[in-house]
Amino acid sequence: MTFLPHAPVLELTEVTRSYQSGNRKRTVLRGISYAFEPGRMYAVIGPSGSGKTTLLSLASGLDSPSAGTVRFRGKDVAELGLGRYRNRHAATVFQSLNLLTYMTAVQNITSAMEITGVQRGNKNQRAVELLDLLGVDAGDHNRRTLKLSGGQQQRVAIARALACEVDILFADEPTGSLDHETAGGIISVFRKLAHDEGKCVVVVTHSREVAAASDEVLQLKRGKLSAR
C-alpha cells in the first residue's frame, strides 16, 4: 500500500470525550474533526483545562473517545487495536515524563525499542546517539533516571519516543522544564523529524516559541478545535 505525501496519517472525526462524575456528565471534547498530515509539525494550544491532554490521549491511543472515530491511515485505531497502534505507529512524550526510574537512561530507551520491535542491530549505540543529539551528558547515559535532573529526564523521555521510530510523535509540554537554549534544540529536532523524515509531530504546548516553530497551530477552546 502506498500513501500520498499529503494524505492524512491521522484523522479525528466527530470525536467527543465525556467523563462521568457522580450523576454529572462532563464533556471535555465536542465533535472534533481534524486531519493530521505526515511531514508536518502541529502545535495544539489552549488554556489550562481546555482538554489538550485529553485530545493527545485520544489521538495517541491511550484512551478511547466516547463518540467519533480516530483513524490511522484510514483505519479505525479501535479496530487496529489501541495497543498495536501505540506499539507500532504512535509514541508519546508525557508531561510527567513517565520514565522507568529504576533503569538508566540508555536502558529506558533500549527497553522501549525492544517493546516496540525496532529493528536495529545495536540498540545501545542508537540510544547513545539519541541522547547525544538531545544534549544529555555522556556521564548521565548510564545513570538511573531517578538521579537525573528534570531537564535531563525530559531529554531522555524525548529520546525514548524518538527511538521508537513511529509514524506519529505526540509530545505534551516537551519543553516545559527546559531552558531556552535546550528547548530550541528540542524544537529543532522535532522540525527535522517532521520535515526530513516525514513524521507527523503533534505538540501540546503553552510555549510561543514552539507554536511559532510549528507548521500548524491548533487552538482548543471550550471543547472545540480550530486552526489559527
Binding site: 506499539n87 507500532r88 513517565n98 522507568l100
Partner: protein
C-alpha cells in the same frame, strides 16, 4: 440344623453375631480389632475369640475356633473388653437381655425380619446381624449392633440386641497409647490450615501491594504498547520464581523443623496425658463406656500402658510436590487476580490515577 459357617471368610469375620444356642457377645479391642466372646452354656465361662461365628450346632469350643481361625485368634487382654454377663444367655428364658437391650417375646419376629433384611447371617438354627466394628470404632460410636436368634428345642428365643445399647468397651489403654499423638496430629492439621489460609491472604496482599507500587510501571509499559498478558506473565514469573526458591528452602529445612516441632509438641501432650491419667486414677474411669443395661466396667485389671512418645517424621517427594503445587497455585492466584484488576484499566487511567 445349622448351615455350616465358613469362619475363615473375611466377610463373616468382619461381621458380628450369628451364634448358636450357647450364645455370644461381641466387642472390640482398644486398637479397634474385632473380637468375639461366646459363652459356653455348660459352665458360663466367657471366652474370647476373634470373629466368633457359629451356628447353633456349630458352636465350637475355644480350641476349635482357634484352630479354625488360625492367626486371627486374638488374645483379649483382661480389662480391654468386658461384656455384661447378661449377654450370655440361658436357654430356657423367653426374655433375654443383651448389651442392655431387653427384647420381649412379642418382637421376636420383627427382630428376625430386620436382622435378615440388614444382612444378618442366617443359619438353620441361628440368625445374626453383623456390623463393621472397625468402621464403627473409627466413627467413635460403636454400638452393640448385633443380634441372633436361636432355635432350641422347638422354641424361639432372641439372644442378642439390635444395636441400641452401646457395648461395654474399656478403651482407656488405647487412649493412653494414642491420645497424645492424636492431639498432636489434630494440632498439626489445624496449624496447616491456618498457615495456608493466612499465607494466601498475606501473599495476596503483598502481591497486590507490589502491583500497586508498580502501577505506574505497568502504565508506562502499556503506553509503549506492551501486551497485557505479557505484563501479567512477567509478574507471574517473578512471583513463581520466589515461590520456587521458598519451596526449595522449605523442602530442605522442613524435615528437621517438623521433627523438632513434632517432638516438642508430642512431649507436651505426653506430659499432659500423664497428668490426666494420674488424676484419673483417683476417680472413676471416664473412658469406660457402659451399656444401657448397666454393664460394669472392669478397669481394675487393666494394665497401664505408656503413651507413644516419639514421632518419626518423613518427608516424601509426594509431600513436597503437594506443598509445592499448593504454594505455586496460591502465588499464581495472588498474582493474577489483583494483576487482572490493574490491567483492566487503560494506560491513561493507570498513569493518571498512579499520580
Amino acid at each position: 440344623m445349622a448351615a455350616a459357617q465358613d469362619m475363615s471368610s473375611p466377610r463373616v469375620r468382619r461381621q458380628l453375631g450369628a451364634y448358636g444356642q450357647a450364645a455370644v457377645g461381641v466387642g472390640v479391642r482398644g486398637d479397634g480389632a474385632m473380637v468375639g466372646v461366646h459363652d459356653r452354656a455348660d459352665d458360663g465361662e466367657a471366652q474370647a475369640v476373634a470373629g466368633a461365628v457359629a451356628g447353633d450346632a456349630g458352636l465350637l469350643p475355644v480350641e476349635g475356633l482357634e484352630q479354625a481361625l488360625g492367626d486371627d485368634v486374638i488374645d483379649m487382654p483382661p480389662g480391654v473388653l468386658h461384656l455384661d454377663d447378661d449377654l450370655f444367655l440361658a436357654q430356657d428364658r423367653e426374655v433375654y437381655r443383651a448389651a442392655g437391650l431387653v427384647v420381649g417375646q412379642g418382637v421376636v419376629e420383627q427382630v428376625e425380619q430386620e436382622l435378615t433384611e440388614q444382612g444378618g447371617i442366617a443359619g438353620d438354627g441361628a440368625v445374626g446381624l453383623g456390623v463393621d466394628v472397625e468402621a464403627q470404632v473409627r466413627r467413635g460410636r460403636l454400638r452393640g449392633a448385633f443380634g441372633s436368634r436361636v432355635r432350641g428345642e422347638g422354641r424361639e428365643v432372641v439372644v442378642a440386641g439390635r444395636g441400641i445399647g452401646p457395648m461395654t468397651v474399656n478403651d482407656k489403654q488405647y487412649k493412653q497409647l494414642v491420645g497424645p499423638i492424636t492431639r498432636t496430629a489434630d494440632f498439626a492439621t489445624v496449624t496447616v490450615w491456618i498457615v495456608a489460609l493466612a499465607g494466601t491472604v498475606i501473599l495476596a496482599l503483598i502481591v497486590a501491594s507490589s502491583l500497586r507500587e508498580r502501577r505506574k510501571e505497568l502504565g508506562i509499559l502499556l503506553s509503549l504498547g506492551e501486551k497485557k498478558p505479557k505484563l501479567l506473565g512477567q509478574h507471574l514469573v517473578e512471583v513463581v520464581a520466589c515461590a520456587v526458591i521458598a519451596v526449595g528452602l522449605a523442602s530442605a529445612g522442613s524435615q528437621f523443623l517438623s521433627q523438632t516441632i513434632g517432638d516438642r509438641l508430642l512431649a507436651g501432650e505426653v506430659s499432659s496425658a500423664e497428668d490426666t491419667a494420674a488424676n484419673a486414677d483417683n476417680g472413676p474411669d471416664p473412658s469406660a463406656v457402659t451399656g444401657a443395661g448397666g454393664a460394669t466396667p472392669l478397669t481394675e485389671d487393666a494394665p497401664e500402658v505408656e503413651p507413644i512418645d516419639s514421632l518419626d517424621v518423613r518427608l516424601g517427594t509426594a509431600d513436597i510436590a503437594k506443598v509445592g503445587a499448593t504454594g505455586l497455585g496460591i502465588a499464581a492466584l495472588a498474582t493474577l487476580i489483583p494483576g487482572a484488576r490493574v490491567l483492566r484499566l487503560d494506560p491513561r487511567d493507570i498513569l493518571t490515577k498512579g499520580d
